[in-house]
Subunit: 401 residues, 2 copies
């Protein structure tokens, strides 16, 4: 049994994702595919446009056999934390043979070399990095120039400019760090960049698709997503369950900030960013303006969104320290073939497999991380217009295809 | 100098209010009028449709000379607390000669007799009350029947059915309780009941006016409010500062409940109403549904709204115990004539007069109650579409006419 692992968000699943999946299967020749997928909140520091069950359904319709939820603690953090959480989770299933990720670069060797340096930090790299930081460069820039210096490869600057390369490097770092036997592959991405706002070309980005849905309605994206995505989205919107946007949580986040809710226990809060956020919250009731007022070279929009989401979802930074990766396997959905993999995982893994959420307390020794997922759903469904119940994780059936 | 005190909300100020003001002046022959007015949240357990400065402007335009804010702690509580806070505040100004309130009843003697019994609780009343409660009647019903029994006056049942009579009785109780020298008057209300939803007749109710604004726009109410009210509302809405509705705070309140935020320190929470509220919050994301799911004979909509607002505004029930009425005089606005009254108050009162909010800490010994007003404004402005700044109490000029 050859099992491929992929790390996805499917926000929503589009033609580019289908292409990546097909190419990955071709390349790795695996018979089974397991996806680790972000839950109701994603790495951009936003809620997903529709909930995790609807996106798991898309994944299964696309041919994936098993969908596992990436805990919200990791799903809404830095590229490094996101990648570590996802790779560690895939590895802990004990059945994954290879992973395939998309990258703008497409050259695994090059990404791997960068990952090695970043992980091992050889003396010349460390020295160059320190020098650059001393000059007042941002960490990202200092790191980039140090890498160029020690490799003599100027093209690395370009490599580090796109988010899928950066995520790919983090996947490779994580695999090396945990000494995983999983074999990595990369697929060169085609079509628009992840961040592109334009709906055009063969493959549109998820960002441009969400934007088009917001501005023009769901019909506008029909050439860029599979039919099943379109149907799942249509049904969700008709039922008043989405589209969900960060804006929906704006009053809550602003309220917490104006209440002086502490930010000091949130990951990545340092250098006075907390005061800057409080100050911005006193000037606006709109989360977009809040982010604009707060962002800087050092604190990008996405770092700030992560902080705000961790405030909203009560994610304490100590969870990152006290847990070495996810300590449970939460199943969101599976196909017929997925049952076989699940059985195999059950035999091999040391982690509890959560299929019935009601049993989580007896199954997970330290359930603090899992409880963040439950709370994230309680918050997420506040944006529903219908059936906006809490404790949905306890009631929602696993998606089966 | 003869000074009339009135207790108002002006949400918004309409023709019925103008009538009451004119009649009160005629009846009491006072030359000056001081209004104690609810701030940004009102006794119905809702935000006011526009903020306290805009409503103070309406009051001044209507001919009132001085507008004092009723602390939000009292403004958003039971009729008894509302009345006690407002009467105590008026009394502590030390310049008020009489107060005039509207009532459906119009007969001061009758209301006063009821107030006496409720305050003094003679043995036969107490016995009848206890008996009725033993039969499982609600407190309101048990009280009503006990009053009828001891007075032999069956018409009291009808008297106790309308909110302005009930408030009036509470004003009279409060005056007696603090042994105030202020002389009470009542004006028989004309036109629609306070709670009427229909926009009709000579005087429409504030409720029906707000409803018409929400459903049909501001033009629909032009026959029911003075021109200045219309202009102030139009300007406010144009500037993105209102209309503000309870709905605007729905996500925050639901979030707090789904977070399991404790309700036990909130006034009037007993008999398991907290669990009922939590349960309802797990079933809906809409505050109207939440209230519908929670209300009962014992816990009316308005009691539940008070609880939810106290949760939102972080009003602890111990404030009611630890303070014997407002401990500051917050000036919202004054006319030329109002200056004279302010000077007189300054000479006579023992309470600090707050005209510059920045000085509040040095002026108010225990500023916990005042800080609830400041926070209420910070929360209120979250519903603004523009200029949604916090700390507005520090910046907003006093309204002068």
């Amino acid at each position: 049994m050859e099992v491929l692992g992929i790390i996805v968000e499917y926000n929503p699943l589009h033609n580019g994702h289908l292409y990546h999946l097909e190419e990955s299967i071709k390349l790795t020749k695996c018979q089974y595919v397991v996806a680790v997928m972000s839950g109701n909140f994603v790495q951009r520091g936003e809620p997903a446009i529709v909930d995790k069950w609807k996106r798991a359904e898309m994944a299964l319709k696309a041919g994936i056999d098993l969908v596992i939820e990436l805990p919200v603690v990791y799903a809404t953090s830095t590229a490094e934390n996101f990648a570590y959480g996802a790779v560690k989770l895939l590895d802990s299933l004990k059945v994954i043979d290879c992973i395939a990720f998309g990258s703008e670069e497409g050259d695994l060797e090059k990404l791997s070399k960068i990952a090695d340096i970043l992980l091992e930090e050889p003396p010349d790299y460390k020295r160059a990095l320190k020098e650059n930081l001393g000059k007042g460069l941002t960490f990202a820039k200092a790191r980039e120039l140090a890498l160029v210096k020690v490799t003599g490869d100027e093209s690395i600057s370009k490599t580090l400019q796109t988010s899928n390369n950066i995520l790919g490097i983090e996947y490779l770092k994580a695999l090396k760090k945990i000494k995983s036997s999983i074999v990595p592959f990369t697929i060169k991405r085609r079509g628009a960049l992840y961040t592109s706002l334009k709906l055009e070309g063969e493959f549109a980005s998820a960002t441009s698709i969400r934007k088009a849905i917001k501005e023009k309605g769901i019909k506008a994206v029909k050439n860029y997503v599979p039919d099943f995505t379109l149907k799942i989205l249509e049904r969700a919107f008709k039922e008043g369950q989405g589209p969900v946007y960060l804006q929906d949580f704006s009053p809550i986040i602003l309220y917490l900030l104006r209440s002086g809710h502490p930010l000091e226990n949130i990951f990545d809060v340092a250098e006075g960013i907390d005061n800057k956020i409080y100050k911005a919250a006193s000037k606006t009731s709109n989360i977009k303006d809040l982010i604009k007022l707060t962002k800087s070279k050092r604190y990008t929009e996405s770092r700030i969104r992560h902080i705000l989401l961790h405030l909203l979802l009560k994610i304490d930074k100590k969870l990152f320290k006290e847990f070495d990766g996810p300590n449970y396997i939460r199943v969101l959905g599976f196909s017929e073939k997925g049952k076989t993999i699940l059985k195999e995982i059950k035999k091999k893994t040391e982690l509890p497999i959560i299929t019935k959420v009601a049993q989580y307390k007896s199954k997970i020794e330290d359930s603090r991380m899992f409880e963040r997922d439950l709370f994230a759903t309680d918050v997420y469904t506040l944006a529903y217009k219908n059936f906006a119940i809490s404790k949905l994780d306890f009631f929602h059936p696993i998606i089966k295809l």
